[in-house]
Structure formats: structure tokens, C-alpha cells
Symmetry: C2
Subunit: 324 residues, 2 copies
């Protein structure tokens, strides 16, 4: 039984992290208007959101800058153009992927940047590179988190070893990442226990980043809250790759911390998110994502199915099954 | 901590109840074609579904038969026209609402009917009438369940008294009904404990009927499975009033009972459910349903908002809040 009393009470350590520009950017190639970004920032301020992720810190060697909006690269000057020096309680984060970020050059010292937090995304087999990135960002003066992706396909014993290695770095928070949206709340409880035990040993926080392939992103997030997880990723109306993420409106509605306000979130969805959908930007639960979630697969085949406008679900199911 | 091992194993007592025609009928006024109903029946057979609900047993005095499809009334001859004498393991149910069913006349003896189960739906303040309907149906030879609706607005102590009264009847199963989609999984655990304790005392089963206003219908259903609830309501792609119900495809994908098969469910969604959506039949999660779920209100205002094609979500939120 979870900490039931917390459905009435609240935990001051909770941090809500808005990833709309970053995970949502994966569905529109990061082409957000400056007005959208500015209003999102103002909304997050009013809503009491703790961190706003501006986008990726992607390598300009690896990615063609003409093919993506600027939030794939999240340069300090582009961030400053929208939020100035951000003299507010809302902290700013960017995500840096192992192997896709020229971090030594592209991440400037914290003293020169409006960014507060560098979130390092890694797979289980690239932990040493992740540690190098943690050290680099930490030495430059940033807060850091580490997001081990696709853990539903990793061995628990490997995750344990990775967390023990990461515990010995200055990283502030271990993120549980359900990249394939395949984890059920009962399993989430076990995973939280694993992460929280090692985190406690090293004085780290734990976070969660969920995907909605089985319509469980919100359920898994609040399950994790019940277990003691503090950093909660969410996006406006779940905007994010494939089936999307935990809906920030559901999460803000659920949390009882008096600092959070739902009304500005509603206004933003009404005025900025729903119009994106009407323009034809597509994300969110659909049966094709159930398949990849259920079968614990990368959502690529479901995303392609959606993009191609296919309707032959049973054929897709066979294709995904036959990958074995 | 729940019975985690059951994510690997399975419980033979689980029963999946397909309510597509009944709860789904609320969004198309029960105008399903005979072909749809026949294919749904054949799909349920192949999928290993345990009960198929044909519709309501509504009073022909209270409701104008010309304004609704036949599944609002679910007459024995209409059921027989589609499924003949149903000599299969799939059982047939109908729902009878307290105060909206002329049960003494319209429910014939079981020996003359293809129906196996009468599901009696009641509010907390009409338990004596529900008991009279249970006795009537039971004396006529039917299995019965009782579905106490809108319990999120009832007092726990009243629910307890109601269950003690119902325990002394021949009813087979107490249903937990989250009519407003307002219950979180942590609360569901507490509610399941309450129902299961009284059910155990009287040798009854417990069931769950969830709504998806907060995208928690599936999460609450599998939470209930973990607690020991056996009768699980679901509909194809969640088809049901407002935000809809637990998706049967998610549930069948989750359950490990070897009798259940996902593939026929996928085919039915592809060939019969998705075309309904394309015709403009509307149901499923949207932000307006989050409001009524979060605020524990009847979904009527959100349903009207949807029907009227409104987009002013913040204004609706104010309207719902101002009902207080």
C-alpha cells in the first residue's frame, strides 16, 4: 500500500519538469514559433512548474541545422532571446544525448548561460560516456540528471551496476525512463524501489519520464509519486514522440502542492496546443502504439504507420510480431 | 505491494465483460447495425471474452422506441435474431437500471431467454429497489450483479451499509463503478479493499467498471485486478459515454490467461470501430473530461461541450467550478 495520505497532503520535494519543447519537438522537428515558446514560458511561471526544458543540445556536425527548428540545438543566445536572463524561480534545462552532443564545445560555462540543468540521456551501454558528460557539465557549474533510456529492454542487474557507477558522480537525479511505454504500474513500483534504494545510498533524487503507449503515462507517474519519486516529467496535452508523454494538466490537477495552478495550463492548451493539433501536428495514444508498448518495442514502426496514414492495424501487428 | 507475480501468472477467476453495445450505445443512441452486433459477438467468442452485454433493458413506457436503436431495449427476440440460442461459453448480459426498467414485465424467465446475466445498476439511495430487482431476476433464474454507480460522491459508510444489505441477497457480484472517472489508483486500492472484505464475508465476487476521464480507466482496472477483483468491464477502443471506458484491447493484452486472444480484437477495431469514428461517432479522452473527472462531477457539461463543438476550455472550467 502506497503513501495514501499523500492524496490529501503533498511533498515539497516534488519538481514538475515541462518537456513540451524537447519531447514535443520530436513531432514537429522543433519548429515552434517564438511566440509559442514565450507563452509557454510565461504559462510555466504562472502554473508553478519547476523546470522548463528548452530542447536538445544536438551536435551541429551530426544534424543539418536547416532541417530542424532551433530548439534541437538550444543555443544560449536563442534561449536568451525568448526568456532574457530568466530571473525567476523557474529553472531552465536542456537535454544532451550521449553520442549526439558536442558537449565539450557546445555547452558553455554556467556563468555564461541561462541554462540551469543539463539532462544527460544515455542507453545502458554508454554509461562511461554519460559519466564523462556529467563530469563536464558539473565542472562547468550546472545541475545534472541522468536519464537511462529504454530500461524495459535492459537487465535489472545492469541497471543496478549503472546506478552504482552514477551514484559516485555529482549527478543530482536518476531518471526512470519508460521509452517504449511498456511498463505497468506494478512493475513501476519495483523499478522505483530499485532506483530509490540506490539513490538513497548516494543522496540522489529519482525522476520519472513516462510514455503513453498503453495509456499509462499518467498512471505510472503518479504510481512513482506514491513510491517517493520527486522529478516528474510531463508535457502539455502529452505532446511528445509517438503516443506522447504524461499530460501536464493531469499531473498538475493531481498534485496538491499549493504552488501549482491548473488554470494557466488550461489556457495554454486551449490557445496554443489544440491549434497545433488542428494544424495537423500528430501525437498521442492510438492502437498502433499499444502494440509496440505491449510488445516492448521501439515505437518506430507505429510512428511510420501513423505518418503513412495506414489503417491496417492487424497487418502492423503481424509485422511487429514478426520482428522476433 | 500488489500480487506482483500475477504479472507473470494469471488468475482463472477473471471474467472480461464486453460492454461495447451498452456503454457504447450511449454515444450513438444504440443504433448499431445487425452486422456490427453479429461480428462483435463472433469476435468476443474468438477473443475468449466471458460476457457480452447486449444493451439496456429500458422501459418502453419511459423511452420512445423510435428514438433509439433496439439495444436500448434488448428484447429477447432481437438478441436471438443475431446470436440464435448462443450455445457457446460466451455468456450474455443486459443492464437494468433502477427506475428505468419495467423489470417485472420485460424480463422473462431465464428458461425463455438467451440472456444469462442481469446487471442491476443503482445509485446509493435506491438500494431497496435494486434488491427487489435482484430478487426478481434471481427468482426468474438469472445470474445477477449489482453496480452501485457514482460511488465517488457517496459516503464510504453508506457504501458499506449498502454492501452489507446486498450481501444478504442472491446477487453474485458487487461492481465498483467509477461513473465520473474521478478515482485515482491509490484510492481504487482502498475501495477494492472495502468491497472485497464484505464480498468475502458473503461469498460474492467483485467487479470494476471504470471511465477514462483522467486516462485512468485501464490503470484503475489493472490496479483492481492486482487487488483481487475478478469481473472486468471493458469496451472496444473504450467506446462509451463521454471519455469512454477501459479499452478491451489494453486489457486483453495485459491479462495472461491463455484463453484470451488479442488478434480478433485488433481485427474488429480495424474493421468496425475505427470506421464508426470516421463516421463521426465521438467518444474518448479529451481535456473537458479531465475537468469533470478531476472535480468529481457528472460528465454532462463536458459531453455538451463536445457536442456543441466548443473549444473554450477555460470558460468550461469556470462553468464547472461555478456549479459549486
Amino acid at each position: 500500500m502506497k503513501e495514501l495520505k499523500n492524496l490529501m497532503g503533498w511533498r515539497p520535494d516534488i519538481k514538475v519538469v515541462d518537456c513540451t519543447l524537447r519531447d514535443g519537438g520530436l513531432v514537429n522537428n522543433f519548429f515552434f514559433s517564438d511566440e509559442f515558446v514565450k507563452k509557454l514560458y510565461l504559462t510555466n511561471l504562472k502554473a508553478g512548474v519547476d523546470y522548463m526544458e528548452m530542447g536538445y543540445k544536438a551536435s551541429k556536425e551530426l544534424f543539418d541545422m536547416t532541417k530542424f527548428g532551433k530548439w534541437k540545438f538550444s543555443e544560449d543566445e536563442d534561449i536568451r532571446a525568448v526568456i532574457k536572463d530568466n530571473e525567476t524561480d523557474l529553472k531552465i534545462s536542456v537535454m544532451a544525448d550521449v553520442g549526439r552532443c558536442d558537449y565539450k564545445n557546445d555547452i558553455k560555462p554556467k556563468s555564461e548561460s541561462p541554462v540551469d540543468l543539463i539532462r544527460i540521456a544515455t542507453y545502458i551501454n554508454t554509461i562511461p560516456q554519460a559519466i564523462d558528460m556529467i563530469m563536464d557539465a558539473s565542472n562547468k557549474g550546472y545541475e545534472t540528471t541522468v536519464n537511462i533510456m529504454a530500461i524495459s529492454q535492459a537487465q535489472e542487474s545492469d541497471v543496478e551496476i549503472a546506478l552504482e557507477m552514477l551514484g559516485q558522480t555529482p549527478v543530482g537525479c536518476f531518471y526512470i525512463v519508460d521509452s517504449y511505454g511498456s511498463i505497468y504500474p506494478e512493475q513501476m513500483t519495483r523499478i522505483c524501489d530499485l532506483y530509490l534504494n540506490i539513490a538513497a545510498k548516494y543522496g540522489k533524487k529519482v525522476g520519472i519520464h513516462a510514455h503513453n503507449n498503453q495509456q499509462l503515462a499518467f498512471a505510472n507517474t503518479i504510481e512513482a509519486v506514491g513510491c517517493g519519486v520527486d522529478y516528474l516529467d510531463a508535457t502539455y496535452s502529452g505532446m511528445g514522440r509517438g503516443a506522447g508523454n504524461c499530460y501536464i494538466e493531469s499531473l498538475i490537477g493531481f498534485l496538491h502542492n499549493p504552488k501549482y495552478n491548473l488554470y494557466p495550463v488550461i489556457k495554454f492548451v486551449e490557445n496554443y496546443i489544440n491549434p497545433l493539433k488542428e494544424e495537423g501536428i500528430t501525437w498521442g495514444y492510438d492502437m498502433q502504439y499499444l502494440f509496440t508498448g505491449l510488445l516492448n518495442r521501439h515505437p518506430k514502426s507505429a510512428i511510420d504507420f501513423t505518418k503513412d496514414g495506414r489503417t491496417d492495424l492487424s497487418e502492423l501487428y503481424n509485422e511487429v510480431i514478426l520482428l522476433d
